[in-house]
Protein backbone atom coordinates (compact mmCIF):
# COMPACT_ATOMS: atom_id res chain seq x y z
CA UNK A 1 0.00 0.00 0.00
CA UNK A 2 1.56 3.22 -1.15
CA UNK A 3 0.17 6.72 -1.67
CA UNK A 4 0.63 8.58 -4.96
CA UNK A 5 1.44 12.28 -5.04
CA UNK A 6 1.44 14.33 -8.21
CA UNK A 7 2.66 17.91 -7.98
CA UNK A 8 2.59 20.49 -10.72
CA UNK A 9 2.80 17.96 -13.56
CA UNK A 10 3.16 19.59 -16.99
CA UNK A 11 4.05 18.27 -20.40
CA UNK A 12 4.20 19.93 -23.80
CA UNK A 13 4.42 18.52 -27.29
CA UNK A 14 6.28 21.17 -29.24
CA UNK A 15 4.45 24.38 -28.42
CA UNK A 16 1.21 22.70 -27.44
CA UNK A 17 0.70 22.23 -23.71
CA UNK A 18 -0.85 18.80 -23.12
CA UNK A 19 -0.95 18.97 -19.34
CA UNK A 20 -0.42 22.01 -17.18
CA UNK A 21 -0.05 22.15 -13.44
CA UNK A 22 -1.72 18.86 -12.60
CA UNK A 23 -1.66 18.09 -8.89
CA UNK A 24 -3.48 15.57 -6.75
CA UNK A 25 -2.68 13.06 -4.06
CA UNK A 26 -4.10 9.63 -3.63
CA UNK A 27 -4.02 8.00 -0.20
CA UNK A 28 -2.69 4.47 0.16
CA UNK A 29 -5.43 2.00 -0.75
CA UNK A 30 -7.69 4.66 -2.21
CA UNK A 31 -9.31 4.60 -5.64
CA UNK A 32 -8.96 7.92 -7.38
CA UNK A 33 -10.80 8.73 -10.59
CA UNK A 34 -9.86 11.00 -13.45
CA UNK A 35 -12.74 12.07 -15.67
CA UNK A 36 -13.06 14.42 -18.58
CA UNK A 37 -13.85 14.49 -22.25
CA UNK A 38 -11.63 12.92 -24.94
CA UNK A 39 -8.37 14.78 -25.31
CA UNK A 40 -8.47 16.33 -21.86
CA UNK A 41 -5.21 14.55 -20.98
CA UNK A 42 -6.50 11.86 -18.61
CA UNK A 43 -4.51 9.00 -20.13
CA UNK A 44 -1.44 11.19 -20.47
CA UNK A 45 -1.39 11.63 -16.68
CA UNK A 46 -1.25 7.85 -16.27
CA UNK A 47 1.45 7.52 -18.91
CA UNK A 48 3.55 10.08 -17.07
CA UNK A 49 3.11 8.27 -13.76
CA UNK A 50 4.10 5.00 -15.46
CA UNK A 51 7.15 6.70 -17.02
CA UNK A 52 5.99 5.69 -20.49
CA UNK A 53 6.36 9.41 -21.15
CA UNK A 54 9.48 10.96 -19.71
CA UNK A 55 9.60 14.55 -20.91
CA UNK A 56 7.38 16.00 -18.19
CA UNK A 57 8.05 18.63 -15.58
CA UNK A 58 6.91 18.49 -12.00
CA UNK A 59 7.12 15.82 -9.35
CA UNK A 60 5.51 12.41 -9.03
CA UNK A 61 6.03 10.42 -5.86
CA UNK A 62 4.97 6.92 -5.04
CA UNK A 63 5.19 5.93 -1.40
CA UNK A 64 7.12 9.14 -0.80
CA UNK A 65 9.86 8.31 -3.35
CA UNK A 66 10.33 10.41 -6.48
CA UNK A 67 9.70 8.02 -9.38
CA UNK A 68 12.55 9.54 -11.33
CA UNK A 69 14.95 8.47 -8.60
CA UNK A 70 13.49 4.98 -8.36
CA UNK A 71 15.57 2.19 -9.89
CA UNK A 72 13.79 0.53 -12.84
CA UNK A 73 13.18 -2.77 -11.03
CA UNK A 74 11.68 -1.07 -8.00
CA UNK A 75 9.51 1.18 -10.18
CA UNK A 76 8.13 -1.83 -12.06
CA UNK A 77 7.22 -3.42 -8.76
CA UNK A 78 5.55 -0.25 -7.53
CA UNK A 79 3.42 0.74 -10.52
CA UNK A 80 1.70 -1.33 -13.16
CA UNK A 81 -0.91 -0.35 -15.70
CA UNK A 82 -3.97 -1.93 -17.27
CA UNK A 83 -4.62 -0.58 -20.75
CA UNK A 84 -7.85 0.42 -22.40
CA UNK A 85 -7.91 -1.97 -25.32
CA UNK A 86 -7.44 -5.61 -24.33
CA UNK A 87 -7.09 -6.44 -28.03
CA UNK A 88 -3.97 -4.31 -28.30
CA UNK A 89 -2.35 -4.80 -24.93
CA UNK A 90 -1.60 -8.53 -25.24
CA UNK A 91 1.06 -9.64 -27.70
CA UNK A 92 -0.82 -11.54 -30.44
CA UNK A 93 1.88 -14.22 -30.78
CA UNK A 94 2.40 -14.89 -27.09
CA UNK A 95 0.40 -17.43 -25.16
CA UNK A 96 -1.02 -16.45 -21.78
CA UNK A 97 1.78 -18.46 -20.18
CA UNK A 98 4.46 -16.50 -22.05
CA UNK A 99 2.79 -13.15 -21.34
CA UNK A 100 2.67 -13.89 -17.61
CA UNK A 101 6.14 -15.50 -17.46
CA UNK A 102 7.94 -12.54 -19.00
CA UNK A 103 7.79 -10.30 -15.90
CA UNK A 104 8.80 -13.25 -13.71
CA UNK A 105 11.84 -13.89 -15.90
CA UNK A 106 12.78 -10.22 -16.15
CA UNK A 107 12.72 -9.83 -12.37
CA UNK A 108 14.11 -13.31 -11.73
CA UNK A 109 11.36 -14.12 -9.26
CA UNK A 110 11.31 -17.46 -7.47
CA UNK A 111 8.59 -20.14 -7.75
CA UNK A 112 7.45 -19.08 -11.26
CA UNK A 113 4.81 -21.78 -11.73
CA UNK A 114 3.17 -20.97 -8.42
CA UNK A 115 3.07 -17.25 -9.26
CA UNK A 116 1.56 -17.93 -12.68
CA UNK A 117 -1.16 -20.07 -11.24
CA UNK A 118 -1.93 -17.67 -8.43
CA UNK A 119 -2.20 -14.67 -10.77
CA UNK A 120 -4.56 -16.54 -13.06
CA UNK A 121 -6.68 -17.83 -10.20
CA UNK A 122 -6.88 -14.36 -8.71
CA UNK A 123 -8.47 -12.94 -11.85
CA UNK A 124 -10.88 -15.86 -12.00
CA UNK A 125 -9.56 -17.73 -15.01
CA UNK A 126 -9.11 -21.53 -15.10
CA UNK A 127 -5.54 -22.82 -15.26
CA UNK A 128 -5.87 -24.44 -18.67
CA UNK A 129 -6.07 -20.92 -20.16
CA UNK A 130 -2.30 -20.74 -19.73
CA UNK A 131 -1.78 -22.34 -23.13
CA UNK A 132 -4.23 -20.17 -25.00
CA UNK A 133 -3.34 -17.34 -27.34
CA UNK A 134 -5.08 -13.94 -27.21
CA UNK A 135 -7.16 -14.71 -30.32
CA UNK A 136 -8.65 -17.66 -28.47
CA UNK A 137 -9.97 -15.44 -25.67
CA UNK A 138 -12.95 -13.11 -25.44
CA UNK A 139 -12.54 -9.41 -24.66
CA UNK A 140 -13.31 -9.84 -20.97
CA UNK A 141 -10.97 -12.80 -20.68
CA UNK A 142 -8.20 -10.82 -22.35
CA UNK A 143 -8.68 -7.96 -19.93
CA UNK A 144 -8.47 -10.45 -17.06
CA UNK A 145 -5.18 -11.72 -18.45
CA UNK A 146 -3.94 -8.12 -18.73
CA UNK A 147 -4.90 -7.57 -15.08
CA UNK A 148 -3.15 -10.80 -14.09
CA UNK A 149 -0.03 -9.62 -15.92
CA UNK A 150 -0.14 -6.35 -13.99
CA UNK A 151 -0.62 -8.20 -10.68
CA UNK A 152 2.21 -10.65 -11.12
CA UNK A 153 4.87 -8.15 -10.01
CA UNK A 154 2.75 -7.39 -6.93
CA UNK A 155 2.72 -3.62 -7.45
CA UNK A 156 1.36 -1.24 -4.83
CA UNK A 157 -0.27 1.06 -7.36
CA UNK A 158 -2.39 0.07 -10.36
CA UNK A 159 -3.07 2.56 -13.10
CA UNK A 160 -6.31 1.74 -14.89
CA UNK A 161 -6.73 3.40 -18.26
CA UNK A 162 -10.43 3.00 -19.06
CA UNK A 163 -10.17 -0.69 -18.26
CA UNK A 164 -13.75 -1.46 -19.25
CA UNK A 165 -14.62 0.92 -22.07
CA UNK A 166 -13.74 -1.60 -24.79
CA UNK A 167 -15.94 -4.29 -23.23
CA UNK A 168 -19.67 -4.83 -23.47
CA UNK A 169 -21.87 -3.89 -20.54
CA UNK A 170 -22.28 -7.25 -18.80
CA UNK A 171 -18.55 -7.94 -19.02
CA UNK A 172 -17.82 -4.42 -17.79
CA UNK A 173 -19.56 -5.17 -14.52
CA UNK A 174 -17.61 -8.40 -14.08
CA UNK A 175 -14.26 -6.70 -14.61
CA UNK A 176 -15.18 -3.79 -12.31
CA UNK A 177 -16.25 -6.20 -9.59
CA UNK A 178 -13.00 -8.09 -10.03
CA UNK A 179 -11.04 -4.84 -9.64
CA UNK A 180 -12.98 -3.81 -6.49
CA UNK A 181 -12.53 -7.27 -5.07
CA UNK A 182 -8.77 -7.18 -5.69
CA UNK A 183 -8.48 -3.79 -4.04
CA UNK A 184 -10.38 -4.97 -0.99
CA UNK A 185 -8.27 -8.10 -0.68
CA UNK A 186 -4.83 -6.78 -1.60
CA UNK A 187 -5.14 -3.09 -0.73
CA UNK A 188 -4.00 -1.67 -4.05
CA UNK A 189 -3.99 2.05 -4.71
CA UNK A 190 -5.89 2.71 -7.93
CA UNK A 191 -5.71 5.68 -10.24
CA UNK A 192 -8.50 5.15 -12.72
CA UNK A 193 -9.28 7.02 -15.90
CA UNK A 194 -12.78 6.87 -17.30
CA UNK A 195 -15.23 8.97 -19.22
CA UNK A 196 -18.08 7.00 -17.70
CA UNK A 197 -19.14 8.64 -14.43
CA UNK A 198 -21.19 5.59 -13.49
CA UNK A 199 -17.99 3.52 -13.48
CA UNK A 200 -16.20 6.16 -11.39
CA UNK A 201 -19.16 6.32 -9.01
CA UNK A 202 -19.04 2.54 -8.60
CA UNK A 203 -15.29 2.36 -8.01
CA UNK A 204 -13.81 5.57 -6.71
CA UNK A 205 -13.77 7.46 -3.44
CA UNK A 206 -12.68 10.74 -4.99
CA UNK A 207 -12.32 12.07 -8.49
CA UNK A 208 -10.74 14.89 -10.43
CA UNK A 209 -12.54 16.52 -13.35
CA UNK A 210 -10.16 17.42 -16.15
CA UNK A 211 -10.57 19.86 -19.01
CA UNK A 212 -7.98 20.80 -21.62
CA UNK A 213 -5.01 19.50 -19.64
CA UNK A 214 -6.01 21.01 -16.28
CA UNK A 215 -7.79 19.73 -13.25
CA UNK A 216 -10.81 21.98 -12.79
CA UNK A 217 -12.11 20.41 -9.58
CA UNK A 218 -11.49 17.53 -7.20
CA UNK A 219 -14.66 16.07 -5.73
CA UNK A 220 -15.60 13.22 -3.47
CA UNK A 221 -18.29 10.71 -4.28
CA UNK A 222 -21.01 12.38 -2.23
CA UNK A 223 -20.62 15.50 -4.34
CA UNK A 224 -21.00 13.42 -7.45
CA UNK A 225 -24.38 11.97 -6.48
CA UNK A 226 -25.93 15.29 -5.48
CA UNK A 227 -23.96 17.20 -8.14
CA UNK A 228 -22.28 19.41 -5.55
CA UNK A 229 -19.57 20.51 -7.97
CA UNK A 230 -18.75 24.20 -7.88
CA UNK A 231 -16.87 24.63 -11.15
CA UNK A 232 -19.29 25.22 -14.06
CA UNK A 233 -17.61 22.68 -16.36
CA UNK A 234 -17.65 19.96 -13.67
CA UNK A 235 -21.34 20.72 -12.95
CA UNK A 236 -22.16 20.52 -16.62
CA UNK A 237 -20.32 17.21 -17.07
CA UNK A 238 -22.00 15.61 -14.06
CA UNK A 239 -25.39 17.01 -15.02
CA UNK A 240 -25.07 15.58 -18.54
CA UNK A 241 -24.10 12.22 -17.12
CA UNK A 242 -26.99 12.19 -14.60
CA UNK A 243 -29.42 13.07 -17.36
CA UNK A 244 -28.03 10.25 -19.47
CA UNK A 245 -28.49 7.86 -16.54
CA UNK A 246 -32.11 8.91 -16.08
CA UNK A 247 -32.70 8.49 -19.79
CA UNK A 248 -31.48 4.91 -19.66
Amino acid sequence: MKPVDVEDLSIRLGDVPILSGIGFSVAAGECFGLVGESGSGKSTVLRCIAQLMVHWQGRIRIGGTDIRRMPLQERCRSVQMVFQDPYGSLHPRQSVRTALSEPIRIHRLDRPQERLERALTEVGLPLHFLDRFPHQLSGGQRQRVAIARALILEPAVLLLDEPTSALDVSVQAEVLNLLSELRRRRGFTYVMVSHDLAVIDHMCDRLAVMQAGRIVEILDRAALIGNGARHPYARQLIEASLEHERGR
Partner: protein, 296 residues
Amino acid sequence: MTALPRSTGLPLLRPLGNILRALLRNPPSAFGLTIIGLLLLIALFAPLLATHDPHAVDLDNTLRPPGGGHLFGTDELGRDIYSRLVFGTRITLRIIALVTVIVGPIGLIIGTASGYVGGLFDRIMMRITDIFLSFPALILSLAFVAALGPSLNNAIIAIALTSWPPIARLARAETLTFRATDYVAAARLQGASTLRIIVRSIMPMCLPSVVIRLTLNMATVILTAAGLGFLGLGAQPPLPEWGAMIATGRRYMIDSWWLVTFPGLAILLVSLAFNLVGDGLRDALDPRQMTGRAMP
Protein backbone atom coordinates in the same frame (compact mmCIF):
# COMPACT_ATOMS: atom_id res chain seq x y z
CA MET B 1 -14.73 -21.25 -26.99
CA THR B 2 -14.71 -24.55 -25.14
CA ALA B 3 -14.67 -26.56 -28.37
CA LEU B 4 -11.20 -25.24 -29.15
CA PRO B 5 -8.50 -27.87 -29.37
CA ARG B 6 -5.95 -27.45 -26.62
CA SER B 7 -2.63 -26.61 -28.19
CA THR B 8 -0.20 -29.13 -26.84
CA GLY B 9 3.47 -29.66 -27.58
CA LEU B 10 4.84 -28.02 -30.68
CA PRO B 11 2.93 -24.76 -31.05
CA LEU B 12 4.80 -23.87 -34.26
CA LEU B 13 3.75 -26.90 -36.26
CA ARG B 14 0.07 -26.10 -36.49
CA PRO B 15 0.44 -22.65 -38.10
CA LEU B 16 3.08 -24.15 -40.41
CA GLY B 17 0.56 -26.77 -41.54
CA ASN B 18 -2.03 -24.02 -42.02
CA ILE B 19 0.36 -22.04 -44.20
CA LEU B 20 1.22 -25.12 -46.27
CA ARG B 21 -2.46 -25.87 -46.78
CA ALA B 22 -3.15 -22.27 -47.83
CA LEU B 23 -0.30 -22.44 -50.33
CA LEU B 24 -1.57 -25.69 -51.84
CA ARG B 25 -5.15 -24.39 -52.13
CA ASN B 26 -3.98 -21.64 -54.47
CA PRO B 27 -3.04 -23.13 -57.91
CA PRO B 28 -0.12 -20.80 -58.80
CA SER B 29 1.57 -21.15 -55.43
CA ALA B 30 0.88 -24.91 -55.43
CA PHE B 31 2.68 -25.05 -58.80
CA GLY B 32 5.59 -23.03 -57.39
CA LEU B 33 5.77 -25.21 -54.31
CA THR B 34 5.83 -28.35 -56.50
CA ILE B 35 8.71 -26.96 -58.56
CA ILE B 36 10.67 -26.08 -55.42
CA GLY B 37 9.93 -29.51 -53.98
CA LEU B 38 11.18 -31.13 -57.20
CA LEU B 39 14.26 -28.91 -57.11
CA LEU B 40 15.06 -30.09 -53.59
CA LEU B 41 14.53 -33.75 -54.53
CA ILE B 42 16.69 -33.41 -57.67
CA ALA B 43 19.47 -31.78 -55.67
CA LEU B 44 19.23 -34.49 -53.01
CA PHE B 45 19.29 -37.42 -55.45
CA ALA B 46 21.50 -35.80 -58.12
CA PRO B 47 23.96 -38.71 -58.37
CA LEU B 48 21.07 -41.16 -58.91
CA LEU B 49 19.22 -38.98 -61.43
CA ALA B 50 22.21 -37.97 -63.54
CA THR B 51 22.86 -40.25 -66.51
CA HIS B 52 26.47 -39.15 -66.96
CA ASP B 53 29.31 -37.63 -64.96
CA PRO B 54 28.70 -33.85 -65.23
CA HIS B 55 32.42 -33.19 -65.58
CA ALA B 56 33.28 -36.08 -67.97
CA VAL B 57 34.69 -34.67 -71.21
CA ASP B 58 33.89 -36.73 -74.32
CA LEU B 59 35.47 -35.06 -77.36
CA ASP B 60 33.99 -37.62 -79.77
CA ASN B 61 30.48 -36.55 -78.81
CA THR B 62 30.55 -32.74 -78.79
CA LEU B 63 27.47 -30.64 -79.52
CA ARG B 64 25.12 -33.59 -79.95
CA PRO B 65 21.46 -32.57 -80.23
CA PRO B 66 18.95 -33.82 -77.63
CA GLY B 67 18.03 -37.50 -77.87
CA GLY B 68 20.04 -40.65 -78.38
CA GLY B 69 21.62 -41.26 -74.98
CA HIS B 70 21.79 -37.56 -74.10
CA LEU B 71 18.38 -36.25 -73.00
CA PHE B 72 19.25 -32.56 -73.51
CA GLY B 73 22.23 -33.09 -75.83
CA THR B 74 25.91 -32.40 -75.10
CA ASP B 75 27.96 -29.22 -74.91
CA GLU B 76 31.12 -28.15 -76.73
CA LEU B 77 33.24 -30.56 -74.65
CA GLY B 78 30.84 -33.46 -74.99
CA ARG B 79 29.49 -33.16 -71.43
CA ASP B 80 25.90 -34.28 -70.88
CA ILE B 81 23.74 -31.16 -70.42
CA TYR B 82 20.98 -32.98 -68.52
CA SER B 83 23.47 -34.28 -65.93
CA ARG B 84 25.03 -30.84 -65.61
CA LEU B 85 21.60 -29.28 -65.05
CA VAL B 86 20.84 -31.89 -62.40
CA PHE B 87 24.05 -31.16 -60.52
CA GLY B 88 23.53 -27.43 -61.09
CA THR B 89 20.48 -27.55 -58.80
CA ARG B 90 22.87 -28.09 -55.90
CA ILE B 91 24.78 -24.92 -56.73
CA THR B 92 21.59 -22.89 -57.16
CA LEU B 93 20.18 -24.12 -53.86
CA ARG B 94 23.45 -23.46 -52.09
CA ILE B 95 23.45 -19.87 -53.33
CA ILE B 96 19.83 -19.30 -52.32
CA ALA B 97 20.25 -20.91 -48.93
CA LEU B 98 23.45 -19.10 -47.99
CA VAL B 99 22.25 -15.71 -49.20
CA THR B 100 18.97 -16.10 -47.30
CA VAL B 101 20.72 -17.24 -44.13
CA ILE B 102 23.04 -14.23 -44.25
CA VAL B 103 20.54 -11.61 -45.40
CA GLY B 104 17.52 -12.53 -43.25
CA PRO B 105 19.09 -12.07 -39.80
CA ILE B 106 21.17 -9.03 -40.83
CA GLY B 107 18.17 -7.23 -42.33
CA LEU B 108 15.92 -8.17 -39.42
CA ILE B 109 18.40 -7.09 -36.74
CA ILE B 110 19.36 -3.80 -38.37
CA GLY B 111 15.77 -2.94 -39.28
CA THR B 112 14.17 -3.72 -35.92
CA ALA B 113 16.99 -2.16 -33.92
CA SER B 114 17.01 1.11 -35.83
CA GLY B 115 13.21 1.26 -35.88
CA TYR B 116 12.88 0.67 -32.15
CA VAL B 117 15.88 2.61 -30.86
CA GLY B 118 15.30 5.53 -33.25
CA GLY B 119 17.19 8.80 -32.96
CA LEU B 120 20.75 9.13 -34.16
CA PHE B 121 21.30 5.37 -34.45
CA ASP B 122 18.29 5.09 -36.73
CA ARG B 123 19.48 7.97 -38.89
CA ILE B 124 22.97 6.52 -39.31
CA MET B 125 21.72 3.01 -40.12
CA MET B 126 19.15 4.28 -42.60
CA ARG B 127 21.70 6.47 -44.41
CA ILE B 128 23.92 3.40 -44.75
CA THR B 129 21.06 1.39 -46.24
CA ASP B 130 20.31 4.35 -48.52
CA ILE B 131 23.86 4.19 -49.84
CA PHE B 132 23.48 0.47 -50.59
CA LEU B 133 20.05 1.00 -52.14
CA SER B 134 21.23 3.79 -54.41
CA PHE B 135 23.34 1.38 -56.51
CA PRO B 136 21.69 -1.14 -58.82
CA ALA B 137 22.11 -4.52 -57.11
CA LEU B 138 23.85 -6.22 -60.02
CA ILE B 139 26.36 -3.41 -60.51
CA LEU B 140 27.18 -3.36 -56.80
CA SER B 141 27.63 -7.15 -56.72
CA LEU B 142 29.86 -6.86 -59.80
CA ALA B 143 32.00 -4.35 -57.97
CA PHE B 144 32.21 -6.55 -54.88
CA VAL B 145 33.11 -9.67 -56.87
CA ALA B 146 35.66 -7.73 -58.88
CA ALA B 147 37.23 -6.61 -55.60
CA LEU B 148 37.02 -10.00 -53.87
CA GLY B 149 37.98 -12.11 -56.89
CA PRO B 150 35.64 -14.25 -58.97
CA SER B 151 34.41 -17.43 -57.27
CA LEU B 152 31.14 -18.95 -56.18
CA ASN B 153 31.60 -18.06 -52.50
CA ASN B 154 32.52 -14.49 -53.30
CA ALA B 155 29.46 -14.24 -55.52
CA ILE B 156 27.34 -15.38 -52.58
CA ILE B 157 28.94 -12.78 -50.30
CA ALA B 158 28.47 -10.07 -52.92
CA ILE B 159 24.80 -10.92 -53.45
CA ALA B 160 24.22 -10.99 -49.69
CA LEU B 161 25.89 -7.60 -49.27
CA THR B 162 23.57 -6.06 -51.83
CA SER B 163 20.28 -7.64 -50.80
CA TRP B 164 20.02 -6.89 -47.07
CA PRO B 165 18.99 -3.20 -47.33
CA PRO B 166 15.42 -3.76 -48.62
CA ILE B 167 14.86 -6.29 -45.82
CA ALA B 168 16.17 -3.83 -43.23
CA ARG B 169 13.93 -1.10 -44.62
CA LEU B 170 10.91 -3.37 -44.45
CA ALA B 171 11.67 -4.52 -40.90
CA ARG B 172 12.16 -0.92 -39.79
CA ALA B 173 8.86 0.23 -41.29
CA GLU B 174 7.04 -2.62 -39.55
CA THR B 175 8.82 -1.90 -36.27
CA LEU B 176 7.67 1.71 -36.34
CA THR B 177 4.06 0.55 -36.31
CA PHE B 178 4.64 -2.02 -33.55
CA ARG B 179 6.71 0.11 -31.18
CA ALA B 180 3.71 2.30 -30.35
CA THR B 181 1.45 -0.60 -29.40
CA ASP B 182 0.19 -1.21 -25.88
CA TYR B 183 1.86 -4.60 -25.60
CA VAL B 184 5.24 -2.95 -26.13
CA ALA B 185 4.28 -0.33 -23.52
CA ALA B 186 3.33 -3.16 -21.18
CA ALA B 187 6.68 -4.86 -21.78
CA ARG B 188 8.47 -1.58 -20.99
CA LEU B 189 6.43 -1.24 -17.80
CA GLN B 190 7.56 -4.69 -16.77
CA GLY B 191 11.14 -3.53 -16.97
CA ALA B 192 12.06 -5.40 -20.16
CA SER B 193 15.35 -4.24 -21.68
CA THR B 194 15.47 -2.79 -25.20
CA LEU B 195 17.08 -5.99 -26.47
CA ARG B 196 14.38 -8.11 -24.88
CA ILE B 197 11.60 -6.01 -26.37
CA ILE B 198 13.16 -6.15 -29.84
CA VAL B 199 13.77 -9.90 -29.73
CA ARG B 200 10.64 -11.07 -27.93
CA SER B 201 7.97 -8.53 -28.87
CA ILE B 202 8.98 -6.91 -32.15
CA MET B 203 10.83 -9.56 -34.13
CA PRO B 204 8.01 -12.15 -34.03
CA MET B 205 5.69 -9.51 -35.48
CA CYS B 206 8.09 -8.56 -38.29
CA LEU B 207 8.95 -12.15 -39.17
CA PRO B 208 6.06 -12.94 -41.57
CA SER B 209 6.67 -9.99 -43.86
CA VAL B 210 10.42 -10.57 -43.77
CA VAL B 211 9.92 -14.22 -44.73
CA ILE B 212 7.67 -13.20 -47.61
CA ARG B 213 10.19 -10.66 -48.78
CA LEU B 214 13.03 -13.20 -48.52
CA THR B 215 11.09 -15.69 -50.62
CA LEU B 216 10.38 -13.11 -53.29
CA ASN B 217 14.02 -12.12 -53.03
CA MET B 218 15.14 -15.67 -53.85
CA ALA B 219 14.04 -15.22 -57.47
CA THR B 220 16.21 -12.11 -57.74
CA VAL B 221 19.08 -13.95 -56.07
CA ILE B 222 18.89 -16.73 -58.68
CA LEU B 223 18.90 -14.20 -61.50
CA THR B 224 21.78 -12.20 -60.02
CA ALA B 225 23.77 -15.39 -59.44
CA ALA B 226 23.11 -16.49 -63.01
CA GLY B 227 24.05 -13.01 -64.22
CA LEU B 228 27.33 -13.11 -62.31
CA GLY B 229 27.96 -16.64 -63.62
CA PHE B 230 27.22 -15.46 -67.14
CA LEU B 231 29.75 -12.64 -66.79
CA GLY B 232 32.32 -15.12 -65.54
CA LEU B 233 32.36 -13.62 -62.05
CA GLY B 234 30.36 -16.30 -60.26
CA ALA B 235 30.90 -20.04 -60.37
CA GLN B 236 34.00 -20.88 -62.39
CA PRO B 237 33.85 -22.96 -65.62
CA PRO B 238 34.04 -26.62 -64.67
CA LEU B 239 31.22 -26.11 -62.15
CA PRO B 240 27.82 -26.78 -63.75
CA GLU B 241 26.31 -23.45 -62.72
CA TRP B 242 23.36 -22.52 -64.95
CA GLY B 243 24.45 -18.95 -65.69
CA ALA B 244 27.98 -20.09 -66.53
CA MET B 245 26.53 -22.81 -68.81
CA ILE B 246 24.62 -20.17 -70.75
CA ALA B 247 27.77 -18.04 -70.96
CA THR B 248 29.82 -20.82 -72.55
CA GLY B 249 26.90 -22.00 -74.71
CA ARG B 250 26.41 -18.52 -76.13
CA ARG B 251 29.18 -19.02 -78.71
CA TYR B 252 27.44 -22.08 -80.19
CA MET B 253 23.93 -20.74 -79.83
CA ILE B 254 23.09 -20.37 -83.54
CA ASP B 255 23.81 -24.01 -84.46
CA SER B 256 23.26 -25.72 -81.13
CA TRP B 257 20.26 -24.10 -79.47
CA TRP B 258 20.10 -26.70 -76.65
CA LEU B 259 23.25 -25.38 -74.98
CA VAL B 260 21.52 -22.21 -73.76
CA THR B 261 17.84 -23.18 -73.93
CA PHE B 262 17.80 -25.81 -71.19
CA PRO B 263 19.78 -23.90 -68.55
CA GLY B 264 17.73 -20.82 -69.45
CA LEU B 265 14.48 -22.73 -68.96
CA ALA B 266 15.76 -24.06 -65.63
CA ILE B 267 16.53 -20.53 -64.40
CA LEU B 268 13.16 -19.27 -65.63
CA LEU B 269 11.24 -22.11 -64.00
CA VAL B 270 12.97 -21.87 -60.62
CA SER B 271 12.79 -18.09 -60.28
CA LEU B 272 9.14 -18.21 -61.38
CA ALA B 273 8.48 -20.86 -58.73
CA PHE B 274 9.99 -18.74 -55.95
CA ASN B 275 8.00 -15.72 -57.08
CA LEU B 276 4.75 -17.68 -57.07
CA VAL B 277 5.44 -19.15 -53.63
CA GLY B 278 6.32 -15.68 -52.33
CA ASP B 279 3.02 -14.30 -53.61
CA GLY B 280 1.13 -17.23 -52.13
CA LEU B 281 2.93 -16.78 -48.82
CA ARG B 282 1.92 -13.14 -48.74
CA ASP B 283 -1.70 -14.13 -49.14
CA ALA B 284 -1.36 -16.82 -46.50
CA LEU B 285 0.43 -14.69 -43.92
CA ASP B 286 -1.58 -11.52 -44.45
CA PRO B 287 -2.69 -10.53 -40.94
CA ARG B 288 -6.30 -9.98 -41.92
CA GLN B 289 -6.58 -13.43 -43.43
CA MET B 290 -4.59 -14.85 -40.53
CA THR B 291 -7.17 -13.76 -37.95
CA GLY B 292 -9.92 -15.01 -40.25
CA ARG B 293 -8.36 -18.43 -40.21
CA ALA B 294 -7.30 -18.46 -36.59
CA MET B 295 -10.83 -17.88 -35.33
CA PRO B 296 -12.59 -21.19 -35.68
